[in-house]
């Protein structure tokens, strides 16, 4: 793995070795690394409980290792990173909410021992389909993860059921999960 993309890194280094005003844009399709069957959760019927039944965090993707480009951190210095996420929710009956949390860490750290990178709350309304798109900046810890050779990832779901009305039945699925890293030349 270490030298998997040597040539890509060499090319990146070359491109960044000119004037310092241009960037390396790294687009990581994180979703492609994950088993599609794990990216959707079907729930219900969730009974009506005063205040709503809370499931707590349930892992959808539990500590998956993602192989990235090795050596990129040797030539590129991250300037910013943004996480783009979209989710689709279908609610048959009842109402409630689902919170998707994404955790990312380096290869030596358990993902869920770190703060979530993204937290996406999907409000569920009876009979409605909902699509949510968010793009959020990530902090420097997360930014550095994408220029390392591996990262670990977890995705959890946390459901809150209806406090009144009908029991909740529905489905939530992650549609896109992309990281866009803007990096500049690192001093040699």
């Amino acid at each position: 793995m270490r030298t998997r993309a040597f040539i890509v890194i060499a090319v990146a280094a070359l491109a960044l070795s000119g004037c310092g005003d241009h960037n390396l844009v790294l687009k990581v399709d994180v979703l492609s690394y994950l088993d599609p069957s794990l990216l959707a959760v079907t729930f219900g019927p969730v009974p009506v409980v005063p205040g709503g039944l809370v499931t707590g965090e349930q892992p959808l993707v539990d500590d998956e290792t993602i192989n990235l480009l090795n050596g990129l951190n040797s030539v590129a210095e991250v300037r910013s990173v943004s996480i783009g996420l979209s989710a689709f929710a279908h609610d048959s009956t009842g109402s409630g909410s689902d919170t998707l949390r994404i955790y990312a860490s380096d290869e030596n750290t358990a993902p869920r021992s770190t703060p979530p990178v993204v937290q996406l709350v999907v409000d569920l309304t009876a009979g409605q389909d909902t699509t949510l798109d968010v793009t959020v900046p990530a902090d420097s810890r997360v930014a550095e993860l994408f220029v390392k050779r591996k990262m670990r990832l977890s995705v959890t779901t946390s459901l809150r059921g209806p406090g009144s009305g009908d029991p909740l039945n529905g489905r939530v699925a992650l549609r896109t999960f992309e990281a866009i890293v803007i990096a500049g030349r690192k001093a040699f």
Binding site: R2, T3, S32
Partner: protein, 440 residues
């Protein structure tokens, strides 16, 4: 350390990836398309030893090239420290292409666009934009033999001179898959990607022992007479340094580009090198002939016939350790006897007067490339010379030149403008050369 190594490797790659033609120092020659000047002018005897015997034209002089390219370099020197943000690999590479002798009036900018790398589990694509133009379209083969300058003396027809010799060659190639990836195609599963780079260089110093004289001469060959001149130059040299490297980087992608199983990248390097301690005896031969009649001349010079050096070198291999991923070098033998050759090069040239114009042309068979030069000169009122020319450069592009010479008694000034493609992007640049001329 890795980054410094990478920087140096990239410098070698980008310089090796282009084709550099030589800069012409003589402003007169530069203005005339870089052609070998008629009658034994600048660059003639190095290319054709017989020109040592050709009588100099009356009222000819000698030239002193002026390094006007040093002015901007000294005013704004490049950053050599790779840790500094001003460090610019392209700028340094272009400086290697164009030693700061002539003034570069227009140097193509190296692309400054963003590059994008898109990756997914089974997806990897690189969009380099214009930066991809830095990589050769196909196999890139460059090389040169640099002889001289000679420092010596002559007694009658014989001469003895000390001179260095430097020879280098590089051959860089990508397979079709890798070439496509550089051009923006996606990396594909189950595909082999390969880059090969083979290069070597050697340097030596020694003596040139030779003879050049007329085999036949009747009357004034610049007037109504004719002359046939020949020369031979034996090179007896001592090797100073030798290095050769044979590198290959290859990997084959699996079913998934970024799956659980790593792709094994195979790096193989095989090196031979030595310094002065391993330098042995070198010998070679240059031959030349020039025919002149009624102001017309034609010459043929063949250099480095059988030029061979003996060395005792260190043999080293380098591989990619599959466990640690580090490059591991291993010396497998020392004092290995090795014989190296310097490729034979040849120059054919001709010049004649057509009315008030001196017209000259040459064809140079160098290492892996054949170039040609054509130039003309005319004097107005013996004080102003107008010159123009063109040449086919090492990138197979036609370049254009022009210039003037101003004479003030025994002293003159030569100026030359010439286009070139001696840069990373192989686009057209423009340079100014200058020199002083001292007339007899």
């Amino acid at each position: 350390m890795l980054r410094r190594t990478l920087a140096l490797s990239l410098l070698a790659l980008v310089v090796g990836g282009g084709s550099a033609g030589a800069q012409t120092f003589s402003a007169r020659r530069m203005a005339m398309g870089g052609v070998i000047l008629a009658g034994g002018g600048a660059g003639s005897s190095g290319a054709n030893v017989a020109y040592r015997a050709v009588p100099r034209a009356p009222k000819s002089g000698w030239a002193l090239p002026l390094p006007i390219g040093l002015i901007p370099l000294l005013a704004d020197p490049p950053e050599f420290d790779p840790d500094k943000p001003e460090f610019n690999l392209y700028e340094l590479a272009n400086l290697l292409y164009n030693p700061p002798w002539n003034l570069q009036l227009r140097s193509p900018d190296v692309s400054g666009n963003d590059i994008t790398i898109a990756i997914g589990k089974d997806h990897l694509a690189v969009d380099l934009g214009d930066v991809k133009n830095l990589f050769p379209e196909d196999q890139s083969r460059i090389g040169a033999v640099v002889n001289g300058p000679e420092l010596g003396f002559g007694i009658k027809r014989f001469f003895l001179a000390a001179a260095p010799l430097v020879h280098y060659e590089n051959d860089l190639s990508f397979n079709d898959a890798l070439r496509g990836a550089i051009d923006g195609e996606e990396f594909r599963p189950n595909t082999a990607y390969e880059m090969l780079d083979r290069g070597y260089g050697q340097a030596a110093v020694g003596v040139h022992l030779g003879w050049a004289g007329p085999l036949m001469q009747a009357g004034d060959p610049r007037g109504q007479g004719m002359g046939f001149y020949a020369g031979a130059r034996v090179k007896l040299m001592r090797g100073l340094a030798y290095a050769s490297a044979d590198n290959s980087v290859a990997f084959t992608t699996a079913d998934e580009l970024f799956g659980a199983e790593p792709v094994n990248v195979n790096y193989r390097g095989h090196y031979y090198d030595t310094g002065p301690g391993g330098g042995g005896f070198g010998r070679g031969l240059d031959l030349g002939a020039v025919w002149m009649a009624r102001g017309t001349e034609a010459g043929l010079g063949v250099n480095d016939i059988g030029t061979t050096f003996d060395w005792r070198v260190r043999e080293t291999t380098a591989t990619d350790d599959p466990v640690t991923g580090d490059y591991v070098q291993q010396v497998i033998a020392r004092d290995v006897p090795l014989s190296s050759k310097v490729p034979t090069t040849a120059v054919a040239n001709a010049a004649t007067r057509i009315g008030r114009f001196l017209v000259a042309g040459d064809v140079v068979r160098g290492i892996n490339v054949t170039t040609g030069h054509l130039g003309a000169e005319t004097w107005l009122d013996k004080t102003v010379a107008l010159r123009a020319g063109a040449y086919l450069d090492a990138n197979e592009l036609i370049q254009y030149t022009a210039g003037t010479g101003l004479r003030f008694g025994a002293i003159g000034v030569d100026l030359a403008l010439a286009s070139n493609s001696r840069n990373l992007s192989r686009e057209r640049g423009l340079e100014l050369g200058a020199g002083l001329a001292f007339y007899h």
